[in-house]
């Protein structure tokens, strides 16, 4: 699953931070999930736990928070939120793997333009890491 690749990336980054700071343990990791990526939280959490085993992040608390996907039209400046359940399942799946595919399937609800910027809610990122 793609969630596993994303989780692996997070764990690798967290472990690198811990190593750079000479920390023995990772206590807490706050992760933001962009709505556009539509990460399955249960799979992602399982992957984080599995990939952290036998590492300084083994007992870390991974907290997940979603960030709404907000798009802004480059033509008419309209801003709108992408509602996950309104996407067609097959298009949602393609956007899950490659968020830029949104430019192929989504249109500005006001003027119909495919030329928009992803203002927020793209990708997965680490907001903070607490070390012990």
């Amino acid at each position: 699953m793609h969630e596993w690749a994303l989780a692996e990336s997070v764990v690798l980054t967290v472990l690198r931070v811990a190593e750079e700071r000479n920390a023995a343990r990772v206590l807490r990791v706050r992760i933001k999930l962009g709505e556009l990526q539509q990460v399955e939280e249960e799979i992602f959490s399982t992957a984080l736990r599995e990939l952290s085993k036998n590492t300084p992040a083994e007992d870390a608390e991974f907290s997940l928070a979603r960030e709404p996907a907000v798009l802004k039209c480059n033509r008419c400046s309209h801003e709108w939120k992408v509602e996950r359940d309104k996407l067609k399942p097959e298009e949602a799946e393609l956007i899950h793997f490659l968020p830029e595919a949104a430019h192929t399937y989504l249109r500005c609800p006001r003027c119909g333009s495919p030329d928009f910027a992803i203002e927020s809610g793209r990708g997965v990122w680490i907001e903070s890491v607490e070390l012990g």
Partner: protein, 235 residues
């Protein structure tokens, strides 16, 4: 970025096929070279970075092949070539991507694609000397560059700009191939003047168009036969 580095860690060599100009045959050269190398028992990947007009999947007849999910995505294999492209994700729709979107798309593809062990990854570059070229130079600094030009002055002038850019960015230039050659050794002369290795000429071959989507036919064209002599130099 670290994920992209990890996914490329099993790739021994990355060769980008570029020209700066569109329509000179970069996609045909890179896809056919990938097929030829695969025939020579090399483990080959082909990454199509033309987000606006991806063609590698069409040339290889792989329009309905999807990468499979497995802790990332595993590229489909066609005639021994592992192929990755934006095409499975956008279908036949347009890519309305601005600069930063193209950079994100490239990083995403590099981060999710599990190439495994490869002797060579060929990268089919889009035209231009903008985002995708600069991103590859930045994110895959070890990439080597194979430049394609037609004998046209218009192509040669653009290739010159690309070579200047590649030199300024410290990129390794393997050499140049002349495609659609028609007798005069224009590209060879240009290479001599520029101090770039001339790797050889491939003639204009009308049979290539009919072979698009049919790799077995493509490999029997004069185009492929002449390209094979050049590919042998890719040691």
């Amino acid at each position: 970025m670290r994920e992209a580095e990890k996914q490329l860690s099993g790739v021994r060599r990355v060769v980008c096929v570029g020209s700066g100009k569109g329509g000179v045959g970069k996609s045909l050269v890179s896809a056919t070279a990938a097929l030829l190398l695969s025939q020579r028992s090399r483990r080959v990947g082909l990454l199509d970075l033309d987000f606006y007009g991806p063609s590698a999947h069409l040339i290889l007849g792989a329009w309905d092949l999807m990468p499979t999910e497995d802790r990332g995505v595993v590229p489909p294999e066609i005639h021994g070539v592992r192929l990755m492209s934006i095409a499975p994700y956008i279908g036949e729709g347009p890519s309305a991507l601005r600069g930063s979107d193209a950079t994100h798309a490239m990083l995403e593809l590099l981060a999710i694609t599990r190439w495994g062990e490869l002797d060579l990854l060929l990268v089919d570059m889009p035209p231009g000397t903008g985002d995708e070229i600069l991103d590859v130079v930045k994110f895959i600094p070890a990439a080597e560059w194979l430049v394609v030009s037609t004998p046209s002055k218009l192509s040669i002038q653009t290739v010159r700009r690309l070579l200047l850019l590649l030199r300024e960015t410290g990129s390794k230039i393997m050499g140049a191939i002349e495609n659609m050659a028609e007798g005069e050794a224009c590209v060879e002369e240009f290479c001599r003047a520029e101090g770039v290795q001339f790797l050889g000429s491939v003639p204009r071959d009308p049979k290539v168009e009919r072979a698009i989507g049919r790799p077995e036919l493509l490999l029997r064209t004069e185009f492929a036969r002449r390209l094979e002599a050049i590919v042998r130099k890719l040691k």
